[in-house]
Symmetry: C2
Subunit: 348 residues, 2 copies
DNA sequence: CTGAAAGCGCTTACAG
DNA sequence: CTGAAAGCGCTTACAG
């Protein structure tokens, strides 16, 4: 007795079974299933009836194994965490493009863990996905050169790859952070705190650069005691802001360069009763941001465009495009909602 | 010139290539790749070197085609929309269980469209996923009986299947809605509006039942003019609440039975300046709900538990468990945060 | 400890 | 219009 029988299941019917039931060769079944022309109508009819009776389902993997192209009609997507709002919005954008190509999407969470990035990549390559869209985490993506050489195209999104010349689609983080910071300066602030995510992440570095450049352009000296980087959780961000507020000369404004960090900053400002006293600009959208009081001024990324652009690039590569690697930069845009317009001591 | 050459790619190396380079048979390569015992150490060494030199990657689909079990080490997950917070939290919970089994997850958005449900199911069956976790949308899941019979187990989550006796893991919606409504009654309300999602969705029906029963238990007559169902978007919910507030006898409290609906209700109450005057209890968590002022009292679903339980059930089925279909009910729990405790006219 | 033959479900490349 | 043979990349079931 086989395991299948123990489980009360029969195995899936194959073309052979359909062929036997309809009295034709499996090649003819293949023709009907693939809707090839040149099969007599009554045979088509008979094969269809048999397939339907047996609930036959073509095995796409077996099909693609023999086919020349060997396409699995699937792609892989490596995200920070499928459940965070940024990642899941990216996921949806990629899914929508993939669907147009009749391709399904494997998604996985890397959790900023290089080993998980490696593990997921090999799991997906082993399943012969036609390509990968990756938000890179590992310190170095050179290991992917092998996979690309062997036929799996890779496009990076949100962060550029390191040690690998490959397509990537990223937000203009420097300019976005520059504008967010300049917005605070324009509203009369000079003591502007910077809150940053893990500084090994390229986007965190770039946003810090934008902040530094905006201060420089405005002639505001950089106050190191107001810079808090490597905040990995909203709780760490909250604690950092609580400390900043206790300084002898506390900041009058905060630039929070990532969404969880913004949440933490908000909690600290609320707890201190300063959410109407200290200005706040965030980077990355927050859900329900418009319902908060005051509304949160945010430098918004165009996540749908990031994801859709990356997916479209990938499908061009899958189709055979081997032009040089592209870097596509998507602008970020500041939306004022109240928290960023709280006036500072130098407001006119 | 083949397409691959045009694209500047070579095809992936196979066991045959590794065998040729290391001077052994492909069977021996297979042994080494699968870490079977009984291969002499120097041969293992040579094969490993050749595989590494060629960047050989085993083809799991070809392997599973020949293997007895035929497992693809992948499962499919059908969600409402991968980018909504409820769906993506469910996704993460399923992913975490799948990872423990060395299985990757295909995820797709159904968008409450029965045709997309059917399309995604056949796409996933064609790729021979080992099982499916589904949030059902189609009016009827009887079509899945064929797939189960042919060896693809299916577990439903969040909503029960219709016309199919199959495993499902759902929230106790009736009790949750009963408690949410009773909470408002206990705070002195009798004119309590009900806001519901599409009433074809089972969870929406159940939550309505809980509301009706709670009113009945408290001896509060059901006021039909306060019941607004089939709200599909936050905007429709906002408009519905705006209308309710304009009634000659407006509600003093609102029970919003789904998260987007709660968002719409919140917007309407804010716009009318009544967010501190009209009580509000929502069902389904909202991001940042604790940062709103007042905080939103919510009947919370245990989304991680829903997803993890469904995935674990699925893996048991994949392993061969053919015991009768199970229905697992996960309790929901009310968390008071302020909006639900605004006193009504009958408060003691 | 190693390998030649057959076969998983399908399509290609022929032949008729 | 239809089908027999070979083969995709791998593993099973043998044999030595």
């Amino acid at each position: 007795m086989s395991l299948d029988e123990v489980a009360g299941r029969t195995s899936r019917p194959t073309m052979k079974d359909v062929a036997a039931l309809s009295g034709v060769s499996i090649k003819t079944v293949s023709r009907v299933v693939n809707e090839e022309a040149g099969v007599s109508p009554d045979v088509v009819e008979r094969v269809r009836a048999a397939a339907s009776k047996l609930d036959y389902r073509r095995d796409l993997s077996a099909s693609s194994l023999r086919r020349g192209d060997g396409k699995s009609q699937s792609i892989g997507l490596l995200l920070e965490d499928v459940s965070n709002p940024f990642s899941s919005a990216l996921h949806r954008a990629v899914e929508d493009v993939a669907r147009q190509h009749g391709v399904v999407v494997f998604a996985g969470s890397v959790d900023e863990d290089p080993e998980r990035e490696h593990g997921l990549v090999s799991a997906l390559v082993a399943r012969r996905t036609d390509g990968l869209v990756i938000v890179p985490t590992a310190p170095d993506q050179s290991y992917l050169a092998r996979e690309r050489r062997n036929g799996t195209p890779v496009v990076f999104v949100d962060r550029p790859p390191v040690q690998l010349d490959a397509d990537h689609v990223v937000t203009d983080n420097v300019t976005g952070a520059f504008e967010g910071t300049a917005h605070l300066v324009a509203h009369g602030h000079r003591r502007i705190a910077f809150l940053g995510d893990l500084s090994t992440i390229s986007t965190a570095q770039e946003r810090y650069t934008g902040y530094v450049e905006a201060l420089g352009a405005a002639g505001v000296p950089l106050a190191v005691e107001l810079v808090r980087r490597d905040l990995r959780t909203d709780e760490q961000a909250r604690a950092a802001v609580a400390e900043l507020l206790a300084l002898p000369e506390p900041p009058t404004a905060v630039f929070a360069s990532q969404n969880l960090v913004t949440v933490g900053a908000l909690r600290a400002l609320r707890a201190a009763g300063l959410h109407r006293g200290v200005a706040l600009v965030g980077f990355d959208s927050l859900p329900l941001q418009d319902l908060l009081d005051p509304g949160i001024t945010i430098v918004e990324q165009d996540v749908r465009r990031l994801g859709a652009t990356a997916a479209e690039l990938l499908f061009r590569r899958i189709a055979g495009d081997d032009s040089p690697a592209q870097r596509i930069v998507i602008p970020a845009e500041l939306t004022a909602r109240g928290s960023g317009e709280i006036p500072g001591p130098y407001a006119r």
